[in-house]
Symmetry: C2
Subunit: 200 residues, 2 copies
DNA sequence: TGTACATCAGTGAACGCGCGTTCACTGATGTAC
DNA sequence: TGTACATCAGTGAACGCGCGTTCACTGATGTAC
């Protein structure tokens, strides 16, 4: 009986581990090519398993994608949190610069986020999970604005700042005839213009 | 000879007219369902023609989509221009409210715009056409900021404002558990928070 | 006026592809007696 | 210790779909003589 439970738990751990290996593979693929061209077969190949096996661990493709995205989102949120704590005095311009840079460097997650935002066909459960992540990110921004002694409704400031940064990252992404470096510099420049106005 | 030219020109006009009918049909379909689920066959059905015929007027699907989008973009730009001219004194909050409302009501064009912004695989010619439209829109915003006697680099302000509005429209689109009206109100609220900060 | 030919808008059927997902099966491991 | 059975991770092949695009063809209209 006791032994039984132990074995059972081991099997569960094994299953969990395999599940994580699949998400790991997904993360690697997402870093490689635009998210909307990633297929279940790609991820299976990267993980070294049959693509049919993925369906023993995830009900469908969308769930796996959301799962992988949430991993990246957690990293982004952790990064932002540390950024805000970093120094005694935070400058919103500095945070903006680092935040934009980070999102550019982790582009596939940013793309996935906007994709999920635009996609109307997500299941309610998945939407809820995505929103939990979004709220966690907004919590960090709240902390930033509180540290900056912002007046008024702090949460609404976080909403506004977050939305504006998203806009910057989407709008200038395909700036024609500009190199990656130039695009990045422009995004940071525009991001700072907005950020300054949140300083009041 | 003379007659020849006339006939030729009539045939050209006819061709142009057919082309426009196809784009009209595309516009209607785009208003009906999310743009990424629109197929060449849908548009052909709406236009009452064989889907093969579309390829006698457009080299490929993407070109047709861009063409249809540019029509909508022109309308948006015209709307924005009139909005700015409307009264002796413009208020950026009012412009923001009307602009956001308009984009919500013409959602499919907004969706297409973000799609094109995120899509890395556009041909150079199409990108150029899209950017011409974007520049025309920024020109209108320039006029707004000039009328508001903004200081500093007006064009950069237009960039910042435009990007921020895009962000608002994307970020809160799927606000969970909120009705369409509530979402709209929230977008306008956040939009105004940002807009106020551009008033300085 | 009649005839042979050219042009070209328009079509239905088919091609070919890649995809998400499911199926029937294998084979290793554990379990009961 | 041996044997029959159950479980379940894992698989390759196949299903079925919808799509963008192309093809071979039709038929109406215009043109040349």
């Amino acid at each position: 009986m006791e032994k039984n439970r132990k074995l059972n738990s081991l099997r569960m751990q094994e299953k969990e581990a395999r599940r994580n290996l699949i998400i790991d593979a997904a993360e690697r693929i997402f870093a490689e090519k635009p998210f909307d061209r990633v297929s279940v077969r790609d991820i299976a190949r990267e993980a070294g398993i049959s693509h049919a096996l993925i369906y023993r661990h995830f009900p469908d493709q969308q769930s796996l994608f959301v799962e992988a995205f949430l991993r990246g989102a957690e990293k982004i949120i952790r990064f932002l949190g540390e950024l805000i704590d970093e120094k005694k005095t935070v400058s919103i311009e500095k945070v903006t610069e680092r935040f934009i840079s980070y999102l550019i460097e982790n582009d596939s997650y940013f793309r996935m986020m906007t994709h999920f935002m635009l996609d109307g066909s997500l299941g309610a459960g998945l939407i809820e999970r995505l929103n939990t992540a979004e709220r966690a990110l907004l919590d960090q921004l709240d902390r930033l604005f509180i540290r900056l002694k912002a007046k008024g409704d702090v949460r609404m400031l976080s909403h506004a700042y977050f939305a504006a940064m998203n806009g910057v990252l989407i709008t200038f992404r395909n700036y024609p005839g500009r190199s990656g470096g130039e695009v990045k510099r422009h995004m940071i420049r525009i991001g700072k213009i907005i950020a300054q106005r949140f300083r009041v």
